[in-house]
Amino acid sequence: MKKIIIDPITRLEGHGKITIFLNEAGEVERAYFQVPELRGFEKFAEGRQAEDMPQITSRICGVCPWAHHMAATKALDDLYKVEPPPAAKKLRELAYNLFMLEDHALHFFYLGGPDFLVGPKAPKAERNILGVIGKVGLEAGKRVIQMRKELRGLEAKMGGRTIHPVMGLPGGVSKGLTEAERGECLAVAERAIDFTLFALKLFEEVVLKNQGYLELISSEAYTHRTYYMGLMDDKNRVNFYDGRLRVVDPNGRELVKFRVQDYLDHIAEHVEPWSYVKYPYLKAIGWKGFLDGEGSGIFSVAPLARLNASEGLATPRAQEAYERMYETLGGKPVHHTLANHWARVIEMIYAAERIQELAGDPEITDPNVRLLPEEVPTVGIGVVEAPRGVLIHHYETDERGLIKRANLIVATQNNSARMVLSIDKAAKSLIKKGEVVDDGLLNMIEMAFRAYDPCHACASHALPGRMPLVVELFDHQGELIRKIER
């Protein structure tokens, strides 16, 4: 055994890798961002019981166990063609909104915080969590921790376990909600609504009153006119748990609204020769390369895309904030990547209000929370809105319910083509004639990166390691000429 000082190590190989190709004149030909995917999972799933998928898939991500748990559970409903009783659906949606709020809150404060609450021009040493605390104050910082703790406490209660939820079953949930627990949810919901309105106020005070920030949000460098996709209810309002997938074009007009079971008719995947990464695009429009605009099938998911794809939000205070965002940024859709932070705080309000609505519904304590599946299984497809966007689970089984084929489309993958657009724009504006502004390039890329909040923590967690952002520059002959790392 030896004692060592571990210098930044990582177990997340190949993650956050940016590749930039220059032409003969030293100008950027094309910049790419590699989104790692869940390689090997499909094989791992083969031959396993479909019923185990909500437990297995919730273990593949250290950040979003609930998103996978819920998408898998819904895929099982579909596999066994069983419709959960109303109380079961409400319980699932309630638990899911607790998770969405918890995750969004974390990112709004600690992830977007360094860019917005502290500021893009602040000295580098302050652009971190401590800088955020310095800006919002110790009390606010503690409030975030406290709120998350309360939300996680309720999740654990409803999920049956602290970490891996065991709530979802085909046709329902494993247990109902007691009156006392319902009261607890209502109490937490009230504090959560206060908390989210406080977050919005902070955003308005720090960001919206600062002309420089507004200009940055709407700057061309962070703007891409793409299609947007999100899960919507019957009235085209965002719903994180259920509905149909709606796609709007760059002008905000509906292109299509479909059941997730038909996703293969609408979404195809493009493969680039230089990478194993697949880039999902809209089949109806086609793959036209890494371009934005109406003629390109690239689409985007996650908070801003959801709001863009919707006609409103189902709860009053969130709807108010939604309208204000679109008024301020010049109407719908908003194409500015950095507005994702704003959209995220609006969704936090929605989640908190939705928790209150669901917990306020007396039917939610109905003990009838499961229907037993009776159909012979063949194919099951389920979808939820993960915090980072549309997440699809697709299983095919034999008649005993053993997985023959599993396909997961994770949110970050859905955003991968648009992320390439962002990286490309950043690279083109900061690399001229082979000259690179190292720090400027990394800063700009990181800001875009954080706005999408791509999650590569699937199947991983980092102990002392952190994910390095690596930029590699290749000349026109394919020779590696520079490597910038942070």
Partner: protein, 165 residues
């Protein structure tokens, strides 16, 4: 004194399951032979990453973390023992908090004035981190030594009189 033994990892990723298996083994032992000496020992396993780990650590006086790692040039099965304060990484900017490591979490806790435990880390160099169950041979062989190191660390914890509630 409240002490947490935290096994980090994911048992669906071969050697990444190390922390989970180690924690399970230690829990079973501790249930048979509970610690006295006024030490309140808890064992947890977690696949979580980033700031979620902070939620698990807050409120303990000491924490022993067990995990699989991959270091440059490391030999699978190699055991590392280190104190968190040896990880002199500072608070470098990270592109995403998803990847925040313990030093960042520690800094966050300090910044907020939360009770962050004194952390000791036991890590084993992983061989295979692909999807699959069960540890590789090299890591399996390292497990008994790892467990005895952790047991020793538990024995080294200072005895305390039960603190008043």
């Amino acid at each position: 004194m409240r002490v947490l033994i935290l096994g980090l990892g994911n048992e669906l990723l071969r050697d990444d399951g190390l922390g989970i298996y180690a924690a399970q083994a230690l829990r079973a032992e501790l249930e048979l032979k509970p610690e006295k000496r006024g030490i309140e020992l808890e064992v947890l396993e977690s696949p979580l990453s980033g700031p979620a780990i902070l939620d698990l650590l807050i409120g303990y006086d000491r924490a022993i973390i067990i995990d699989a790692v991959r270091t440059e040039g490391g030999r699978p099965g190699e055991i590392y023992e280190l104190d968190l304060d040896e990880l002199q990484l500072g608070l470098k900017p990270s592109p995403s908090l998803h990847y925040a490591g313990l030093p960042e979490l520690w800094a966050l806790a300090e910044g907020l004035g939360l009770d962050f435990p004194k952390v000791k880390i036991y890590a084993v160099e992983a061989g295979d981190l692909s999807f699959g169950e069960g540890l590789t041979e090299a890591v399996t062989k390292a497990l008994p030594e790892l467990l005895s190191l952790v047991r020793e660390e538990i024995r080294r914890l200072p005895s305390v009189n039960r603190a008043p509630a």
